[in-house]
Symmetry: C2
Subunit: 341 residues, 2 copies
């Protein structure tokens, strides 16, 4: 399998995607690194240049510019502008947040019939918007924490509460409020990022578990079940400063893991084909709740898999393009006939 | 306002989109007609050629080929391949079904920062997948008809039932089954189009109402309330053969209309910005149910508006692009510093 990796994006998580891509570089054999800059230009990045400084300094602009086109990516070279096509089997979408996880890049890959490990448009919408995540999860009979949509800093819940912009990942714009003053402030912070704001009760002593996985053909592949250890609440920096973490606390109780797998499958089925996702769960009094779906988890949650490369290879082999639709103009011809033309 | 109209698409409703565009041609002043053929090539169609035969015959292939690019569409001309950009303010997405209503074209328009009257990616996902429509509607406190997802021709409901593939519009693949034999057949038909199949009870004597509208800035604009008159069930042909219908039965009871407007607003809010949509409702025993959301209704439901052009002009003026995101590489610089580099 020859892989291309696409990362960057016009996203609040642009930099996280770069770090994610640098991490993945050592875990998989990547043929081509495709960088989408904040201006939405595509660049082909030399493997040796896959260092965060290369992007932060703007040096990447000396790289070859790419165009997305039917079947893949191309560039033009020389005076005659000869076209070259990148030669890969599957592209891995590693753009976190906007562009990558809001459905734009998935839509374009599908439009141009490029095989990809990526959540599709529908999967992105369901994961990206927290209201839709809850709506979808309920429909699949998966528990979620109750919530309300607010358009002013008022809530029906007792403090403390969590305030979240509906449409951003990575804890951006998310705050805990212990009292009304904090809620006022948290509401303004969230409003910076989205018009749609939700509030949830902050539940003391709730446990957090992460499970990643995918369905490759008919085979379900699951990661280890991570028991998330954290203080009160991980903000943006804390969550990503230990990004390629090696020390992960695993829950090895098979019976417990089985329960999480059941919930994961309910979420993944029907909608997440071709994607490797991480479901973040809460657990309290033996009841499992879906917290959020990461349709493109940081560094693909590689640290949770024993044989990450093998997982990606299997998934890549199972990737399917959309069916073609044959247009025969039968309907128009019928109208023409009806009109006597 | 200078408009471009995009239609066609790799969609089961490709031909319907052509008919839709031909209808719109006489209702609005369109500067450019952009045809997306089934092979996903864009063509600039001369207004005089906006006739269904021109497409059915393949003649359209003699038209100028367009490329989608930042800010709009362009073509190259002459030996020097000089680039020309189409000069319009807003593009209207009139591609029904796949490509247009599944989020692909909306994603691309957003990616390339092209102002458009279109449902966005999220709006498409919520409308295109009937399971997500119901999930979203419930979350917005709008009633829906109960349903079940089936993966074999079995149902908990009493006959007659309606069988629908979850992801297609325009009644394609939808059947009524009055008994088990019909269910077996209907299930196979639906399976031709989607893996995800739903069943609903067929409710005798239920009334159907359509209401179209949009929010232009702070102003809500609603169409007339159409009382849908039909026999048992409109299949694909019946629904579209009378496509640009002039005789529409209107319910002029303001009190009743107000009730439908309330439900429409709950659906439209937050998600359908920049789109003119039509909500198809059921009504029984004074209870209103959402049946489906048409995020790009046939011929933009122009026949339901008294002053269609004015509605579109207002909506076009209110169209907003996504916010830019400034990438300052603060996070990466912080890591570099932390590493002492």
């Amino acid at each position: 399998m020859k892989y291309a990796l696409i990362f960057g994006g016009s996203s609040f998580e642009h930099e996280i995607s770069i770090v994610s891509a640098i991490t993945i570089k050592d875990k998989l054999n990547i043929e081509y690194f495709i960088f989408l800059d904040s201006n939405r230009d595509f660049y082909l990045i030399d493997k040796d240049n896959m260092k965060s400084k290369y992007f932060a300094s703007g040096e990447y602009k000396n790289s070859i510019k790419l165009e997305i086109t039917k079947g893949g990516f191309k560039y033009k070279k020389g005076l005659l502008k000869k076209e070259f096509f990148l030669d890969f089997d599957v592209v891995i979408n590693l753009i976190h947040g906007r562009d990558g996880e809001d459905g734009k890049i998935p839509a374009m890959l599908e439009f141009y019939k490029i095989k990809a490990i990526t959540p599709n448009v529908e999967a992105c919408s369901v994961s990206y918007n927290k209201v839709l995540t809850k709506a979808y999860a309920k429909e699949m009979r998966v528990n979620v924490i109750e919530y309300e949509i607010i358009d002013s800093p008022k809530t029906k819940f007792d403090f403390p509460v969590i305030i979240k912009p509906a449409r951003l990942g990575s804890s951006i714009g998310v705050s805990i409020a212990k009292n009304q003053d904090e809620l006022n402030y948290a509401f303004d912070v969230a409003r910076e990022f989205d018009d749609l704001i939700i509030v949830e009760p902050f539940i003391e002593g709730i446990e957090e578990y992460n499970l990643a996985g995918c369905k490759a053909g008919d085979e379900w592949i699951f990661s280890k079940l991570e028991k998330v250890e954290k203080k009160e609440f991980l903000d943006f920096d804390k969550k990503y400063m230990d990004f390629s973490r090696k020390e992960v606390k695993i829950n090895e109780n098979l019976e417990i893991k089985e329960k999480f797998k059941t919930e994961f499958k309910k979420i993944y089925n029907n909608i997440f084909k071709n994607a490797l996702i991480r479901c973040d769960f809460f657990c309290k009094d033996d009841i499992i709740y879906l917290n959020e779906i990461n349709p493109i988890p940081g560094s693909m949650a590689n640290y949770l898999f024993d044989d990450f490369k093998n997982v990606i290879d299997k998934l890549a082999k199972s990737v399917e393009l959309e069916n073609d639709i044959r247009i025969d103009y039968m309907y128009i011809n019928k109208i023409q006939m009806a009109k006597g033309k």
